[in-house]
């Protein structure tokens, strides 16, 4: 009786083990299938002209030049808005107001913001920036919307990175007579820089892939010119992909796949850099 139970237990154990392994491999397989599917559809379409051409009614003459240019100018403004505010806020919450009620209120608030669907940020951007502040569907309106969207990510990453800085470093700095800000800016932030940088790159990667909030604020799907300033209209690579995907003609689907290859390469490159920095930083500084 006892040994029968035991062997049945062992059997369940084995069955589960291999089922679970299958599930794990299944999830990995989906990723492989997705990549193979997209590369097989789009790789042949990628050539120099694809990067150089403007969008067109003719699929084989369409390119991603304006989408790439729009994406870069959008990112530029998003970063210069979100970075300083996000990092300073993260530093403040972790170093200065850790125990205060204000800080714990902000903590709940940030946890909430991180969970707000991106399309809701689009509604906020549409009403506040596009309409109330009369920015129109411009690069700057898009950048402000994305900046608000990625700010919680930067703040959380900054806090995590700063949390990992050992207390002894701060004490040593205070012991030398440094003030709080001197300690923070010359000891704590430099020590946490690897973690902060990793978070920033992941936030940028997130901003690059965002489509919905930009569609809501009125980013155009057809932009035959390169935005020259923050007040110009724009399109981005994911929006261009969305536009091509929703067309019935097979040639546009190929364009979409080619655009996705470019988008994925950018995303993977950024994530790779983030992982590289994280590993390197952890190796360099061992407390």
């Amino acid at each position: 009786m006892n040994s029968k139970n035991y062997s049945r237990g062992k059997l369940t154990d084995k069955v589960f083990k291999y089922t679970a392994l299958t599930f794990t491999l299944f999830a990995l397989a989906i990723l492989v299938i997705l990549l193979v599917d997209i590369f097989s559809k789009g790789l042949a379409r990628i050539n120099w002209d694809f990067f150089r051409n403007l969008p067109s009614r003719h699929a084989n003459r369409s390119g991603i030049m304006t989408a790439m240019a729009g994406m870069l100018s959008l990112l530029f403004f998003t970063i210069i808005i979100a970075l300083p505010i996000g990092i300073l806020a993260g530093v403040y919450l972790q170093e200065y107001g850790k125990k205060s009620r204000f800080a714990s209120f902000i903590e709940i608030n940030i946890a909430n913001l991180a969970g707000v669907p991106s399309v809701i940020y689009g509604i906020l951007g549409l009403t506040l920036f596009v309409r109330i502040l009369h920015m129109g569907n411009s690069v700057i309106a898009g950048a402000l919307t994305l900046a608000l969207l990625i700010m919680p990510i930067i703040i959380v990453a900054t806090r995590e990175a700063i949390k990992a800085v050992p207390h002894s470093l701060r004490e040593a700095s205070y012991g030398m007579g440094a003030t709080k800000w001197q300690t923070t800016s010359r000891v704590v932030i430099p020590s946490a820089l690897g973690g902060i940088l990793t978070g920033i790159i992941l936030a940028i990667s997130r901003a690059i892939g965002e489509t919905a909030p930009l569609l809501v604020i009125g980013a155009l799907v057809y932009v035959p010119f390169i935005p020259e300033g923050p007040n110009d209209q724009f399109t981005t690579l994911p929006i261009q992909i969305f536009n091509w995907t929703s067309r019935p003609q097979a040639d546009f689907i190929i364009n979409a796949a080619a655009g996705i290859i470019v988008l994925l390469l950018i995303t993977f490159l950024l994530n790779g850099i983030a992982i590289y920095i994280r590993n390197k930083w952890y190796k360099k500084i061992k407390y």
Binding site: F16, I106, N109, N112, V119, L128, T267
Partner: protein, 295 residues
Amino acid sequence: MSLPIRKKEKLIEVLMMCCSFVTVLTTIGIILILTLEAIKFFSEVPIGDFLTDTQWTPLFSDKHFGILPLLSGTLLTTTIAILVAVPLGLIIAVYLNEYASPRFTAFVKPILEVLAAIPTVVYGFFALQFVTPLLQKLIPGLNGFNALSPGLVMGIMIIPYITSLSEDALRAVPRSLREASYGMGATKFQTAFKVMIPAASSGIIVSIILAVSRALGETMIVAIAAGQEPKLTFNPMESVETITTYIVQVSMGDVPQDSLEYKTIFAAGLTLFLFTFILNNISFFVRKRFQNKYE
């Protein structure tokens, strides 16, 4: 130095405080905009109609403003996604934490994280161009736009959310509990399901809540692959429209501002926001409440 050091210190602190206050302003902005515009909407459409009417046709000449069809579309795709993501994500987490070798885990985890890093428009393309044709071979007569395909793909996308948060929770369970279970002669399976998962339950619940909230708010996958027909149905074979898709659809169209049609996106947005807001707060408090359980 132009400023005395004490003043400079104080100034920097105030500046940093203002930066963190931006996040509060963002929340206030979202809530104010959604509520104020939704109030304008509800001054024209009775809230009872909004909650009970079974048709959503604001863009047609015969206008109906019932949120139920959008809500059913949203819940349907979310349910499918959760049915995929929770068992798979949880079992993978248990496998990586209890069975797999550390080398295998170190190899698999970063690859799984890639699933979460892929932009959603890519998943939308994958759902429409690969999964739907595949499903149409298995299920003859399946609509080209349906709830099933984007639901499944969304489930794949949120697996890493479940796996990584659940794995953290499992890892936080003290070794002694597992050792005690082994010491009693329990198998790994018994230990995982009767000791580890119950002990890590709060973290696992948080991961599931966050995954639900993520699925509710997902836009591009459903906008591309689920179609844009608001229908009150729970049939996964049919095309549906989610709240998020509707918001994108209206903002991409030529709906004049200040029209009633335009205001519908705020009422729909507020509905979506309330759902995710409640879920996020529950998860936040579960996490806070059980954070120090084993410390």
